[in-house]
Amino acid sequence: MFLSELSTTSEDDKEMKKIRDYIHRDITCVNENSSLRRVINTMKLHRLSALPVVNKLGEYVGCISEQDVLNEAIPAYMKSMYDTSFMAGLDQITIHLKDKLEHKIIDFIDNDYPYVSPDETMSYAADLLYRQKGTILPVVEDKTLIGLLTRIEILSLSLHI
């Protein structure tokens, strides 16, 4: 059963916690034409494991996560090896990645990455985060990024019941 179904049966709609009240109001993002270098640097300095991506008009288009970058970093031939004991040294991954640092991220973006609107419920967001195994959820209103929800925001709800 999904978490969202659990809560709709137990709570009155008015009492449901709305995403709007829990948004981490930071709109750090990258552009589709940003380089992979910029993405890695931004993730590191902002301490974020995924970044929302916007187009030139500032409209939300998707996300790029550490996992997406790692997928690009691993040479294709390695991906066919399921056992890590076949993996060559770390060097091969980092050198492969270094060659791609100036690439535009437009081809690496996850355009199907889930996002939420501020009027949806926190249980819906919790459900999405749980099923998608994502670490952040962009909050989007009329195509505009207005903030994020992170796992810890949802977990820390339990501290205040």
């Binding site: 109001r25 709109i27 993002c29 910029r38």
Partner: protein
């Protein structure tokens, strides 16, 4: 929505130490205080606007642990943050307020150096943000690595999207600001009284300097000299105004200029008439200096103080 730009923000540490002395170890006693808050002129403006009920995005450069502290503190107030993080660390500014000797000692760090590629990332981000806001307030000093011509680029981008920019910074940047021609220029004359190579003080000199600047700046609508609280001088293309608060009881000058500009922006976007905008801005400044905190605690007091602002209109 208002966008504030603080290129060189800071963590403000305010120590209230009565009978402060050099060469002495001070331990804070009861009644003395140590306050840490997010600072930098644009950040202060964002905080006050937010208290006034306006929606704000705070942007600029930040870095390191102090940068995260800064952004956390801003978001805690309910403001959206969009700082570009760089390798260096956000600075800490220290103010020591001595109520007994009535002295204020300030040490402002120079802050992080911004690499070229972070400046271009910032500008790309800034241009995108413009579509979401009506007013842009650029306030404070420039960090190392950022050239003054950034004002020309930022004001130009905003103007091409029909957005108004207000700039509150040192008068040493006036030549470049006269190229940029933002909607409003409010020179920050706390440590520099020289305007275009001349020492300027007194109502008459402020008015004539303001007129000289405006003659060369058709796009600029306001030059505001807030340096003398007892005589705030506002120059427009048609008129000048002198605003005088009555019976001022100055407790703490910190944050005065920022409160003034926040008041101006708030009244301006509430579509008030010019005179009312100026009176509200002065009342915000007055309210700020009359308590110990660097920001206005009780916004309602601005309204109560409106009647204490006399306004003189001079036709030019």
């Amino acid at each position: 929505m208002v966008l504030t730009v603080t290129l060189n923000p800071a963590i403000d540490k305010i120590l209230i130490v009565d009978a402060f002395e050099l060469h002495k170890l001070h331990r804070l006693r009861k009644g003395e205080m140590s306050m840490v808050s997010a600072g930098g002129k644009g950040v202060n403006i964002a905080n006050t606007l937010n208290k006034m009920g306006d929606e704000v995005i705070a942007s600029g450069f930040a870095g390191g642990h102090a940068g995260h502290m800064l952004c956390d503190a801003i978001r805690k107030e309910g403001i959206t943050t969009n700082f570009i993080f760089t390798q260096g660390s956000t600075r800490t500014n220290i103010s020591i307020l001595d109520r007994k000797n009535e002295t204020l000692t300030e040490v402002n760090d120079f802050g992080q150096e911004i690499p070229e590629e972070d400046i271009s990332f910032f500008m790309e981000n800034y241009e995108r943000l413009l579509s979401r806001v009506e007013i842009i307030a650029i306030a404070g000093s420039l960090p190392l690595g950022v050239q003054p011509d950034i004002y020309i680029k930022m004001v130009g981008m905003a103007r091409s999207q029909g957005k108004k920019v207000m700039v509150h910074t040192s008068p040493k940047y006036l030549p470049v600001l006269m190229d940029a021609q933002p909607f409003l220029i409010n020179p920050d004359m706390r440590s520099n009284h020289s305007v275009l190579g001349k020492e300027v003080d007194g109502v008459d000199q402020f008015i004539s300097t303001g007129r000289k600047i405006l003659e060369k700046c058709p796009h600029t609508e306001y030059i505001i000299f807030t340096h003398r609280l007892e005589n705030v001088v506002v120059v427009t293309h048609k008129k000048a105004y002198v605003l005088r608060p009555r019976d001022m009881n100055i407790v703490n000058m910190l944050g005065y200029g920022d409160a003034y500009l926040a008041g101006f922006i708030h009244a301006y976007i509430s579509d008030k008439k010019e005179r009312e905008v100026l009176q509200y801005a002065s009342a915000a400044g007055l309210t700020d200096v009359e308590d110990i905190y660097k920001e206005i605690q009780d916004i309602d007091r601005i309204g109560e103080n409106l009647s204490r602002i006399d306004i003189e209109e001079i036709k030019l």
